[in-house]
């Protein structure tokens, strides 16, 4: 079943080139239609006619499935992938499809489809439901428990002023039995996990510090972290571990508070699920 979106996507693109697709949506092409679509491509296929509600619904369903599956790895979903695999010749109604898919995801699954960064054309799924204590028991085995390590690193970064050197991270993790070069029982290759996987998932940013010899890198929060959690939450996590109040760290507390206020203010097109129309 997971293959469906992909195969249909391929069939869709084939249909684009002229040959009839197996699925109803692509074959039923009316004569008139979106003029904007037809003129743009060199091959000039017949412009798709107005699509029925049923066709759109089908496409939305495929899109929802595609997004859910693509999110498994937590790597941001690219708009180009969406176009290539699912939408195909429904490119002109992509904003509508995305809007409906986002609606579906929110009402049915409780996931929000957000753009990672404005105008980045990559999307992630964020849970709208606050995690509940009891859920943790039921969650069971969802692969390696990397979130714990991630949260520790995020806490470290924030408490040290939003940026930390890689060497400091390893100095810290060493005390917890996690080494950059040694294979870890649970995490396998911790260096790869932190500097590559988390970065690819956009939880962390990994930048080289200039003028360092030997070369050193610095780690900062990535865009996904800002969407999935907040400074206040991470501070509370750190405070809970210390069994203290978040206010015991006044500088960080003020920073976290400021961020909360900034978020509470109405956004000017920040995390809206509808992306900019395709150019």
């Amino acid at each position: 079943m997971s293959q469906k979106p992909k195969s249909r996507g391929r069939a869709g693109t084939q249909a684009e080139r002229g040959s009839g697709g197996e699925e109803a949506p692509s074959t039923s092409r009316g004569p008139g239609g979106a003029a904007s679509q037809g003129g743009r491509r060199a091959e000039a296929p017949p412009a798709p006619g107005p699509r029925s509600q049923k066709q759109l619904e089908l496409k939305v369903a495929e899109l929802v499935q595609f997004l859910l599956i693509k999110d498994q790895r937590k790597i941001p979903i690219r708009r180009t992938d969406i176009l290539r695999h699912v939408v195909g010749d429904y490119k002109d109604v992509l904003p509508e499809l995305l809007r409906r898919a986002a609606e579906r995801l929110e009402y049915v699954f409780g996931y929000r489809l957000v753009e990672l960064e404005p105008r980045s054309n990559t999307y992630i799924l964020v849970n709208t439901l606050e995690p509940v204590e009891e859920d943790a028991e039921m969650r069971g085995d969802q692969g390696t428990p990397t979130t714990g390590l991630l949260m520790i690193v995020l806490g470290l970064i924030f408490m040290k002023g939003n940026s930390i050197k890689e060497t400091e991270v390893w100095d810290f993790l060493r005390r917890l039995g996690v080494h950059a070069t040694k294979k870890h029982l649970i995490f396998g290759d911790p260096k790869k996990l932190i500097t590559e996987d988390f970065v690819r998932q956009r939880y962390l940013e990994y930048r080289r510090i200039p003028h360092t010899d030997p070369v050193d890198y610095e780690l900062q929060w990535g865009p996904r972290t800002n969407l999935e959690t907040s400074k206040m939450k991470v501070l509370k996590f750190v405070a809970k571990v210390h069994n203290q109040d978040p206010k015991d760290w006044p500088a960080q507390y003020c920073e976290a508070l400021a961020e909360e206020e900034a978020r509470a203010r109405p956004q000017t097109g920040g995390t809206a699920p509808t992306p900019a129309p395709s150019s």
Binding site: M1, S2, Q3, L68, D71, Q72, K74, F109, Y111, I124, L125, V126, N127, T128, E130, P131, A136, R139, Q142, G143, P145, T146, T147, G148, L149, L150, M151, I152, L156, M159, K160, G161, S163, E168, F172, R174, R175, L176, G177, H179, L185, I186, P210, H211, T212, D213, E228, T229, K233, K236, F237, V238, K240, V241, H242, N243, D248, W249, A251, Q252
Partner: protein, 368 residues
């Protein structure tokens, strides 16, 4: 030489610019204006410089001062040394408590007073970039010093939070020598706490799994390989078996037939002119399968004409020997015409016969 002259002239003109920008207001403009011509350190330095100074009419003679090559080299060396030191002692410099950054800057200031050419100025620029980066880091350090966050304490608190306060950290790394289960439980506990602070979307999986493209692509290949392998294996076996079977079976059968024939003939020699009851001969009261084998072998004997079977007055089958003498008699025509008989024997029949005839031991003894 002409090339060098051009290059040097270019250097002079270019050289003015960077010096001015770097110094800003700190250095006198007079220094900036001083741009002496200098000849590269090849043979006959002094003589060449004199020629050059005379030849360059359009440049103000006040600019053309001989600079000691040695001095410039020493300045460059000092700059490089300073940069190296700063890089090596980076940690010390960035430390907010130390004054080493200020000292390094003052040293660079002193060096710059003697700088008059672009090569050294470039080194000075390099040092300045390095110093400003370190200064930025130092400033950042100032911020974090006020945060009161101690990462070592954080580490210990993590362990306490999980409940591992009995793990002693004697300067060694905690958790590295620990039992696997402890490590696993530590990370699971942290994971549980961490996920409650993040709005992570759960990964979506079909309950009964899904068809993944990769394994299904591989499976046919594997099966094909397995099938091929199996076929090859099967192919091997029959050829081997046939060889064995043919040889053993044929030999075994012939041998057995011969052996039984020998037994039969021994019997006939012992008791001449007394046909033996067929059943008494073939039946093995202990083994039904052996009985069937015996019937099989006796049939060969009969087929080959070494004995014959007929019904006696009780209508029970008996075996009679066929002597070579009898061959010549007129029995040929009757005995050689094809006659076939089928004997069927079930397990029950066999048991009945054993009981009826009271056969206690087999006449055909085993060869093994």
């Amino acid at each position: 030489m002409a090339e060098e002259k051009d290059c040097l002239r270019g250097d002079v003109e270019k050289g003015e610019e960077p010096v001015v920008t770097i110094t800003g207001g700190a250095y006198s403009g007079k220094q900036a204006a001083e741009e002496p011509m200098k000849v590269e350190a090849e043979a006959g330095a002094d003589a060449c410089s004199d020629d050059l100074s005379c030849g360059e009419a359009d440049i103000d003679p006040s600019l053309l001062e001989l600079v000691d090559e040695e001095k410039c080299r020493s300045i460059r060396k000092q700059y490089r040394q300073l940069i190296y030191n700063v890089q090596q002692n980076r940690d010390d410099i960035v430390n907010t408590a130390s004054e080493s950054l200020t000292e390094a800057l003052e040293e660079a200031n002193v060096l710059f007073d003697a700088v008059s050419r672009t090569r050294e100025a470039a080194l000075d620029a390099q040092f300045l970039v390095l110093a400003s980066d370190l200064g930025k880091e130092k400033a950042k350090q100032l911020n974090s010093d006020m945060s009161l966050f101690n990462q070592v304490a954080f580490c210990d608190f993590l362990l306490i939070f999980v409940g591992l306060n009995w793990v002693e950290d004697d300067g060694h790394d905690a958790l590295s020598d620990c039992d696997d289960n402890i490590v696993r439980s530590f990370w699971e506990t942290v994971q549980k706490e961490a996920t409650s602070w993040m709005l992570q979307a759960e990964t979506f999986h079909f309950i009964f799994g899904s068809f993944k493209s990769e394994p299904s692509a591989r499976k046919p290949r594997l099966e094909h390989r397995k099938r091929v392998h199996r076929m090859e294996e099967n192919g091997d076996m029959p050829t081997k078996l046939r060889k064995l079977d043919l040889s053993s079976n044929q030999e075994a059968t012939e041998k057995e037939v011969e052996r039984i024939l020998g037994l039969l003939q021994t019997y006939f020699q012992k008791y001449p002119d007394t046909p033996v009851s067929y059943f008494e001969f073939v039946i093995d009261p202990n083994s039904f399968s052996r009985t069937v084998e015996n019937i099989f072998y006796v049939s060969f004997i009969i087929r080959d004409g070494f004995a014959r079977i007929r019904l006696d007055h009780d209508r029970l089958p008996i075996l009679e020997p066929i002597n070579i003498n009898h061959v010549g008699e007129g029995n040929d025509s009757s005995s050689h015409c094809r006659k076939q008989g089928v004997i069927s024997l079930s397990l029950q029949d066999w048991k009945n016969i054993v009981a009826t005839f009271e056969i206690s031991e087999a006449m055909i003894t085993n060869s093994y």
